[in-house]
Subunit: 349 residues, 2 copies
Amino acid sequence: MTEPRYRAADLIEYTAALFATAGCDGDKPAVIAAGLVEADLLGHSTHGLQLAPTYLKELAAGTMTPTGEPDVVADRGAVLTWDGKKLPGVWLAAKAVELAADRAVKFGTGTIAIRRGHHIGCLAAFLQRATDRGLMVLVACSDPAFASVAPFGGKKAVFTPNPIAVGIPTAGDPILIDISASITTNGMSNRLRREGKRFPGPWALDAEGRPTDDPAAALTTGTLLPAGGLDHGHKGYGLALMIEALTQGLSGFGRSCAPVGLGAGVFVQAFDPEAFGGRADFIRETEWLANACRACPPAEGVESVRLPGERGLARKRRALAEGLQLYPGILETLEPFAAKFGVAMVKPC
Amino acid sequence: MTEPRYRAADLIEYTAALFATAGCDGDKPAVIAAGLVEADLLGHSTHGLQLAPTYLKELAAGTMTPTGEPDVVADRGAVLTWDGKKLPGVWLAAKAVELAADRAVKFGTGTIAIRRGHHIGCLAAFLQRATDRGLMVLVACSDPAFASVAPFGGKKAVFTPNPIAVGIPTAGDPILIDISASITTNGMSNRLRREGKRFPGPWALDAEGRPTDDPAAALTTGTLLPAGGLDHGHKGYGLALMIEALTQGLSGFGRSCAPVGLGAGVFVQAFDPEAFGGRADFIRETEWLANACRACPPAEGVESVRLPGERGLARKRRALAEGLQLYPGILETLEPFAAKFGVAMVKPC
């Protein structure tokens, strides 16, 4: 059966109505809905609308704060620190990217550390808010209340998967990198477990610290391996530590506080190339790089070399023109909320 | 045969004398010598004194600039851009870390992009210049004149290994991360090739894009694989692109300029935790993290979980107390320079 197609604008309107009815104020419903649908448009289907039921449940439970602004812990111009007070993370991160971009234009870089945000969803979905302005941007996060990834060589989880995303403007489409410091994510592990599938390789350790391809083991008593895996997992371990320090260290709130419930420490940084060697030279270099990668002859068994974000942006363009096909089952999980809130179900286009 | 031990101070004095005689002015000989010996102290033996003959040859050939200061391309306070004019990279990077740290104390972050530096050696060797002041620091570099790493899925080299190092202060020893975006480095590949050894896994592709463990193939017609390798090399590919943009894009000089000869684009960034959530909270978090990693029960076949830099710092302490054993053959390669310059050979302690 082919999945039906939906207009992105209709999905955003529908999702925004759900979050508005759930109590979110101001532009939060629209920004959250746009962020989640953007993830689906780019093909990050584990971090798009699939997250909406979780967020709506958190709002109902009072563990996500529906209204208000983050508290400014410190503002030194080029750097800011926010207390996110468990406000919707997708909204906080989108606002932080916009503000970091403003500060980058003024100071060269703009850096924002956020403590106690709520879950921020798909990091790649925020990048074009900066790259569309000609700025390079980094977004990273961790959740100090959870751990599923062990330090390299260990068998007890200390870290979350700790994603980092990077948006790099070029003369054409931006490069949109979104990688985690672990081989795979909790979202993907959960999906594979639900579908009775295995990892394609030994991406996890069981409780005894033995390699396994079983997502169930990884999600219960085992751990996910850092990027590089059994062979060179010290690389992912290093990245995980860097991201913990950027997100929890700089924001001043993390695992040592033993927080509970879904949340996020967030690090956002924008760079204005004009304040460094100049925008024209930056773009000349990144465009050269993008072309060199696209022109790279493929290795054995590979069709063509792609840039990070290339497939996602192509998918987004097609979905905006022809309608978006969601990953099977996602929309059904929103139906109970729509029914309860009296929001009309979104219709295929 | 046991390698002889040398006092670190003697090695630094000896190496500084060589660089002074080779024409380096001001504090360059002392800073270069300290940087190279620091790498050996930390155990990064492919990026310590092993590099000195190369640097001395570059000075003799006029392809490393012995005297003067970098040109300031732009200075916006929180961010600076230097033209390194092929000045010694170890000296440039050390100076940049100091200045980035000064600016971080003033603005919260201090960021320096350097174009046309010379080779900067071991990135980990610079980190304690910032962490000793309670600052977090990142150092990354690339060499736009060379390429040995292919984009994930490709078989033609586009990137250098592109290392990134991160120094994170804790209540005790700092965490010192030094990883490359490729599985292994050119330095290690060269050493293994020289010694007739293989990689421990398929860390490279041959000219046809087929996996290989042969460092010779990797260094001639093949390519080194990005971190994550055949299984999830899109992670190393993403890091490589990020580092190219930070080092060549921001500095405004890179591969599109088709430079020749050893050189480096460099990115240095320092963070003052005091300008974010506060130094005490930062240290509380990083110390918790360090303790959690050290206390992590080891996986099957692992003796204990270590923090990045832990073994290096222990090695350094021992070497400072008992004398430093260099990797075999390194000191011999400096003898011709000592003889030519009339510098007395360093003596074991």
